[in-house]
Amino acid sequence: MAWANQDKTAIVGIGSTDYYVRGKSWPRTINDMAGEAIMNACADAGISIKDIDGIAYYSTAGAGYLDKFDTASLMETLGMPHISFSATLTSGGGGCPGAIGLATAGLMNEDAKYIVTLMALQQLPQHRLGVVFGAHAPSPESSFLQPSGLVGPGHLMSVLARRHMHLYGTTQDAFGEVVMATRANTHNRPKAVRKNPLTKEEYDASVMLADPLRRLDFCLETDGAVAVITTTMDRAKDCRHKPAVVHACAHGGQREWGRAFAWMGMPDPYFASSGHKFTADRIWNQSGLAAKDMDVALLYDHFSPMVLMQLEDYGFCAKGEGNDYVLSGKLRYDPATGKGTNGGIPVNTHGGNLNEAYIIGMTHIVEGVEQVRGTAINQVKDAEFALVSGGPASLPVSSLVLRSA
């Protein structure tokens, strides 16, 4: 059944800072970067910062993993006169595109007129993201995980990848192809952190950090900020750019995935998955669309195997067939035709978290908006529908379909 709020709202503004290699954004502060992203998004939309009257966060209003956004502080810093919507999705990066659904809820409830969703990320030397999980005495719950030495996200993800390899014969070559195929999209992107083409020999020589995962299977660690503005369709028509219409959006997930790799209790086949099957089914039910109807897929790629598992959960290929799908070149974007290769749908035309920048999912929303506007650097020809996913992680995860206006 079609979603009641289908095509009722749109993303009308996108803004970001430069993307800095981890730790290099200092002496800028995290609020400095957040403010620049929000003001750039306002300029892109053609509205004033004083028009912003709502904030829809994700990641429990986290700014990175250690700082928190505070609406009152942002208002006082940026001069928004009043706020009538301030809410967040819980957990972490899984909720990123789901925050656009949260914004839609606020807009449809007539709480606010222009709602910003943002993320800012800054790592100082004493706050290394990759070891955040292992830095302190564990909670009573994580006392059943952390003593095993599964302390970084890469450790956790490698255990899921291993199970997928065992069940379906998935190879590390496929993980490498995810990295290489998306790296091929950054050579022409001025802000991308990794721009050199990647060979299979270079991938194979990458140091093994958590077998079966190599350093290059891990996403970048970047500093920076990204903000997007969502409003109602009637207001969107007055903004500067063609609206990126919110066609379907869902967050959540099922109990079998639950805390996921924060505990490792998932039964098969959920264990060796991205945990996205539930929200994937919801957006396809909301829209009547399927993976094959997408023109481009912006899949949260904190770790390369999670791209492969999302391709399965969203139905780009059947469960267990991700290895062959990836290795057949179907993730690749062909600049000559503006289409995919070998009948595939281009994935992460911006280079993704693995190659462009990691701002906890926001860069995928930005790329989705640019694709359906028709202004992307690696533009997919006649792109009508863009899929954007949140990070495979503890629930909620989330999914978004943007439509060209």
């Binding site: 291993r162 093994m208 077998d211």
Partner: protein, 146 residues
């Protein structure tokens, strides 16, 4: 495809670097471990196993808990091979395993395995519990290849 890596012996992480915390729901598990008794949280009403221990049975909503003594054996469900001690970043080969606990269907533990080379660890491998003293007088269940 790159050549498989020869890691050598899988070691358990040093117990003196490992803290845990407990709460009233989880403490019986750790008290049993102090007695070198492997248990898992079982619903006192319907018999469903759940880990980590939690206040309610997700199947029947009962708050009754049982802590049966299990055989102490398990099967490797998945694993990673890690090469740096997370406490200090030094070279250290250890293999975190996720195991299905024998006698407690649906219940898992995350631990280290020893008694073999890291590259020999495989899904489906049988292991038996081996107790590691950790900080504050607690004892951690790790596993050894059978």
């Amino acid at each position: 495809m790159a050549e498989p890596i020869k890691y050598g012996p899988a070691r358990v992480l040093p117990g003196e670097q490992i803290p845990i915390t407990t709460n009233p729901d989880t403490e019986p598990f750790w008290q049993a471990a102090k007695e070198h008794r492997l248990t898992a949280c079982q619903c006192g009403n319907c018999g469903h196993f759940r880990m980590p221990p939690s206040p309610y049975c997700p199947e029947c909503s009962s708050r009754e808990k049982k802590w049966p003594t299990l055989p102490g054996t398990a099967t490797v469900f998945s694993f990673a091979i890690c090469n740096k001690n997370p406490a200090n970043g030094e070279d250290y080969i250890y293999v975190p395993i996720v195991v299905d606990i024998d006698g407690a269907p649906g219940a898992r533990l995350n631990a280290n395995v020893t008694g073999c080379n890291a590259e020999e660890v495989h899904i489906g491998m049988k292991v038996t519990v081996e107790w590691t003293p950790i900080r504050d007088g607690w004892v951690l269940p790790n596993f050894r290849k059978v």
